[in-house]
């Protein structure tokens, strides 16, 4: 069953530095988290995120990918079947299937890319 839900998170979802995009997501109960979006043909399995435990004992899942300038839609996939709306995305848009995607803008003209 696919569930579309927003999750609590304080850390930024994506930090972009010279087209290197670091996606982070905090989830304590997940067995696996992956990144799916317009940049990987929405493949639920090809971009598995790595879990680290921070000093506060929180489970932070992260992955770094390099993206050319552009506008991207994405979501996190928990345990290969739960689609999660990124908590602090640059923007959001309805996906046309009853859910909502996070939007990432990679652009030198905007703040997301740090020169």
């Amino acid at each position: 069953m696919i569930v579309d839900c927003a999750a609590e998170q304080i850390v930024p979802t994506v930090v972009v530095n010279n087209n290197n995009c670091m996606f982070s997501y905090r989830d304590h109960g997940a067995k696996s988290v992956s990144l799916a979006g317009s940049f990987n043909d929405w493949d639920r399995t090809s971009m598995s995120m790595k879990k680290t435990v921070n000093k506060d004992g929180q489970h932070v899942w992260s992955i770094g990918i390099r993206l050319p300038e552009g506008i991207y839609s994405y979501k996190f996939v928990i345990d290969n079947n739960v689609w999660v709306v990124p908590p602090h995305a640059d923007a959001y848009a309805s996906d046309g299937f009853g859910g909502k995607n996070g939007i990432l803008i990679v652009s030198k003209g905007l703040k997301q890319v740090k020169e």
């Binding site: 043909d41 996906d95 046309g96 939007i103 803008i105």
Partner: protein
């Protein structure tokens, strides 16, 4: 197959090998024998006026052939896609992913038709196939995927026309045509009318494309998060005409989105009121538009006023 067996019998056989069951016609044969028109062996028309019957038969035959040709098999549709210049990689992406999700051939054919249509309309094929595979990955129904892909194609076409109308007012040197068109198509896909976007951009003439992009995606954020299109447009127009930076627009939008549903209208009203106050203040303060308060001070001052 159309046959005339030279003894007064004109017959059309629509049964076609390999025709997908969802598209197979219920009429298997259509025969015109002397003054009787029979469909699948059953008498359909009997009369004296031969010309009228011939016309009716001809029209029905034409209809049958049109539908039959349009239906086709999956392999026919794949060939049609490639003949129309759709890259084979894009075709196989859709076909393989759809098959992996258990979509029947009829559904895959409809998906490929949207891709072919996009190619014929000079709309970005990868953008449409991306929407299709997104729907497949999210286990959306085939009909909904086709609908979303068609709506996206229309949105992109409208965005292209809108871009042609507003490109003259975009500051030169900010070469982000594709990104701006994409942001506009996302907004239109989310229910914003092209005229509403055009009206919005008039509030910030001469801005760079990046500024319009941020305003457009922020507007989409508001709408997709439950604000009405009118609320979103009014808010963004106010932000544009107040010369807010792209960062400020994004931060304010996020603050509005993160508001609980119950307090959103109050927050929006305060934001709108704040904008008016800021504009009034600015009219009395000499200086340039970049001389603005940081966001946190802006909010504190706003809270004190209320």
């Amino acid at each position: 197959m159309l046959r005339n067996n030279c003894n007064g019998v004109l017959s059309i056989n629509t049964a076609r090998r390999g025709l997908d069951s969802d598209h197979a016609l219920s009429i298997k044969s259509l025969e015109f024998i002397k003054s009787t028109l029979a469909i699948d062996g059953q008498v359909f028309l009997r009369g004296k006026n031969m010309k009228i019957k011939l016309i009716v038969t001809g029209l029905m035959g034409l209809l049958v052939f049109s539908v039959s040709a349009y239906a086709g098999t999956l392999s026919d549709t794949i060939q049609t896609a490639e003949k129309n210049g759709v890259p084979s990689g894009q075709v196989s992406l859709v076909v393989n992913r759809a098959k992996a999700e258990g979509i029947p051939d009829a559904g895959i054919i409809n998906m490929l038709r949207t891709v072919i249509h996009a190619k014929q309309d000079n709309v970005s094929v990868p953008m449409i196939t991306n929407k299709i595979v997104e729907g497949l990955s999210k286990h959306a129904q085939a009909e909904r995927i086709v609908d979303a892909a068609n709506r996206l194609e229309q949105s992109y076409k409208q965005a292209g026309m809108l871009y042609d109308q507003i490109k003259g007012q975009i500051q030169k040197g900010d070469n982000k045509t594709m990104e701006l068109k994409e942001s506009m198509s996302i907004a239109i896909f989310n229910g914003v009318k092209p005229d509403q976007l055009k009206d919005l951009y008039r509030a910030a003439p001469g801005s760079g494309a990046s500024y319009y992009i941020m305003g457009t995606v922020s507007l989409t954020s508001l709408i997709s998060s439950g604000y009405s299109t009118e609320q979103g447009i009014s808010f963004m127009k106010k932000e544009f005409s107040s010369h807010k930076t792209a960062d400020e627009i994004q931060h304010k939008t996020m603050r509005l989105i993160e508001q609980p549903m119950g307090s959103r209208n109050d927050m929006m009203e305060r934001e709108m009121g704040q904008g008016n106050t800021m504009q009034m203040n600015r009219t009395g303060i000499p200086g340039n538009p970049s001389d603005r308060m940081p966001m946190n001070q802006d909010m504190n001052m706003h809270n004190q006023r209320n």
